[in-house]
């Protein structure tokens, strides 16, 4: 058993291409779920990592080559804890990219604080996880709050001809993220923008009948509708609203970003707006070229997970270049990288654009605004 474990370990390190961090090479730890729960995320991320290393591994100057030590957390909290310890204590990495899930990040971040090592999760979504572990923890992905602010601005501007003053929020009360967004995040942002929330009406994950909720919403006669739910339930709510003759503009949370939303809602989905951090069909040349390259290599379209880790690694490389660290003084380098991430302001990430870090350690940038046109999502103009 012990032998087997050793072989596996050696295998893992060999895969990462860095048996022992050579001098004058900067080593970054990476935690992804290559197997188990969320393995498809991990596999996509491994693909994105390969693409990144092919293009950017060579930093040049004092830093030499960027080395990655990649471990598989299997999406499990205990693995995330053990591997974080290992990266900090025995692999002596200068920073860690990962873990990917909120639950993992919640248990791994405190270890990064204790080990005084910068740790940045590319995609974990839960609010406040980086804020609770200042100053060493960061998040690249946009929190829903950081998506909805700019999204509502665009939505309101688009409907300026018939200004939206009063809205009704329809939300899934059973889904944790949707109900948090519907009860807390959306109302807060709507209030900031001077809108009145007439009512917050809930449905439950798996419901099939939305008639009562929509009739209630219709009776309040709002100027617009905000939907916070995953694609299935959101699609039914939107379809029922159109069926009952509600013609108001609709904006929805990030949960609807799936082709099934349009499939189920059909023509009722037309014009519904949402926001997304990464959008594979974005016509922006940098994104289109990257997606085409990914598609050519792996015969599939990259998801959020792939795009987010690619950009996170790129920003890490920018920080290594900017601070001029060379991997010789690991302790000092860790502090320098932390300061670079803390002060990050409008640094151009190749796919998602100018990125800054806010006081909570959460990424800030302009999300891609999406709108349903015909039978697919397009970038809203």
């Amino acid at each position: 058993m012990l032998r087997l474990k050793t072989t596996l370990l050696v295998g893992a390190i060999a895969l990462a291409g860095a048996p022992i961090p050579a001098m004058a090479d900067v080593t970054i730890g990476v935690l992804i779920p290559s197997s188990g729960k969320g393995a498809s995320y991990g596999q996509q991320q491994q693909n994105a990592i390969n693409m990144f290393m092919d293009k950017y591994a060579d930093i040049g100057g004092k830093a030499g080559k960027m080395k990655l030590v990649i471990y598989d957390t299997r999406g499990e909290n205990t693995e995330a804890i053990n591997l974080t310890r290992k990266l900090i204590d025995s692999d002596n990495v200068v920073a860690i990219v990962g873990p990917q899930f909120s639950a993992e990040a919640e248990v791994a971040f405190p270890l990064a604080v204790r080990g005084q090592t910068t740790m940045i999760t590319p995609m974990a979504a839960k609010a406040g996880i980086a804020a609770a572990n200042r100053p060493w923890a960061f998040r690249f992905a946009l929190t829903t709050g950081n998506v909805y602010g700019p999204l509502l601005d665009v939505w309101l501007k688009k409907n300026a001809a018939k200004p939206i003053k009063k809205v009704v929020i329809l939300m899934d009360g059973k889904d944790a993220v949707s109900s948090f967004d519907g009860k807390t995040v959306f109302p807060q942002i709507l209030k900031q923008k001077g809108l009145e929330v007439l009512d917050t009406i809930s449905f439950q994950t798996g419901d099939i009948d939305y008639s009562a909720q929509i009739t209630r919403a219709k009776g309040l006669n709002p100027d617009g509708i905000v939907v916070s739910a995953l694609y299935n339930e959101a699609a039914h709510a939107v379809a029922e609203a159109r069926k009952q003759g509600m013609k108001q503009p609709i904006v929805a949370g990030v949960g609807i970003n799936d082709p099934r939303f349009i499939q189920i809602a059909g023509s009722a989905a037309e014009g519904v707006m949402t926001g997304s951090d990464f959008f594979a069909e974005d016509p922006k040349p940098a994104v289109a070229a990257w997606v085409a390259d990914y598609d050519k290599r792996y015969r599939q379209k990259p998801s959020n997970a792939a795009g987010e880790i690619y950009d996170t690694l790129y920003l890490m490389r920018e920080c290594i270049k900017k601070t001029g660290i060379d991997g010789k003084d690991v302790k000092g380098d860790r502090v320098k990288l932390r300061d670079c991430w803390t002060g990050m302001k409008d640094v151009e990430a190749p796919l998602m654009g100018k990125t800054s870090m806010d006081n909570n350690g959460d990424g800030v940038r302009i999300p891609t605004m999406l709108e349903v046109k015909g039978d697919k999502f397009v970038v809203a103009q």
Partner: protein
């Protein structure tokens, strides 16, 4: 707005009623619970959907497909999951377990074939809307109400006036005595399953049309609601199931409309418990002799 909510409740309630009638028919004749009935409803919905998707037929053909497939499936279930146990003796528990098993098999097979995600039900009926000022109805809702009323009326005539209907009623009074008097009990039971399942299949297609969501797991919740309606209406009472279904649909919709969606099921089953406390036999009492 209240009238609109009542209409919403009637729409939901009429599908509950159709499912509950299936339960109550089988229970009325055999005094046994048919726990795969929710899955028959689900298979009926998928059958209707396939006709629409593959051959682009309209809702009427979908309805007939759902009806036929569900009726056949119901008869197969009778032969496979009920008859062998019935012949072997008077166990109440065995058919419950065997039908749960049959239901799980159906659920898994449908998941393998169609996937676990919800599938939309394409129909143009939903796009036709009638706005009468105080109430807003769509073509699919008119269709559902009409089909539900016609199905219940046909069932009423079938049970009251046809030979098989009369034999069914005789069998539900007492299976053994009916057999002694020359009723072919096996055939009557088979017909009962066919009729009950056909109504379930119709309900499946109607739910697909109105709520635009079909999934292999839709039978589970509908099955539980159907049983609650059967208890509310009175075990074995067809008219009880009709009225009980409407009551449950209206109570659910009103609880969502004026309170909160999380209370929907609490009200549905609270009502059931209340009725069982006040009127243990349900709203429509069936003949004492039938209650063994």
């Amino acid at each position: 707005m209240f009238i609109q909510q009542l209409a919403n409740g009637v729409m939901l309630g009429s599908t509950y009623a159709l499912v509950a009638i299936g339960y109550t028919l089988v229970f009325g004749v055999l005094r046994l619970l048919h726990l795969a009935h929710g899955e028959v409803f689900m298979v009926g919905a998928f059958a209707g959907l396939q006709v629409v998707l593959w051959w682009h037929f309209g809702p009427f053909v979908a309805l007939i497909a759902g009806l036929v497939v569900a009726a056949l499936l119901g008869m197969v279930l009778e032969v496979v999951a009920f008859r062998p146990i019935r012949k072997r003796g008077n166990s109440h528990l065995a058919p419950i377990v065997s039908t749960i098993g049959a239901g799980l098999v159906l659920q898994e097979v449908m998941t393998k074939v169609f996937g676990a995600e919800q599938t939309p039900f394409p129909s143009d009926l939903g796009k036709i809307a009638y706005d009468l000022g105080f109430i807003h109805v769509t073509g699919s809702q008119v269709f559902i109400l009409a089909v539900a009323i016609v199905s219940m009326a046909v069932l009423h005539f079938f049970v009251t006036y046809t030979r098989y209907g009369m034999a069914m009623r005789a069998a539900s009074e007492n299976l053994q005595v009916a057999a002694i008097l020359g009723v072919n009990v096996d055939n009557v039971v088979l017909v009962t399953f066919a009729v009950a399942s056909a109504l379930g299949g119709i309900a499946g297609v109607l739910v697909g049309l109105n709520f635009n969501a079909i999934s292999p797991y839709m039978g589970l919740e509908m099955g539980i609601k159907g049983m609650a309606v059967m208890l509310i209406g009175g075990l074995g009472s067809i008219y009880g199931a009709m009225v009980g279904g409407l009551i449950l649909g209206i109570v659910e919709v009103l609880s969502v409309a004026y309170l909160a969606s999380s209370l929907r099921d609490a009200f549905a089953f609270g009502l059931m418990i209340l009725i069982l406390i006040v009127r243990p036999r349900g709203l429509f009492q069936v003949g004492i002799r039938a209650e063994r």
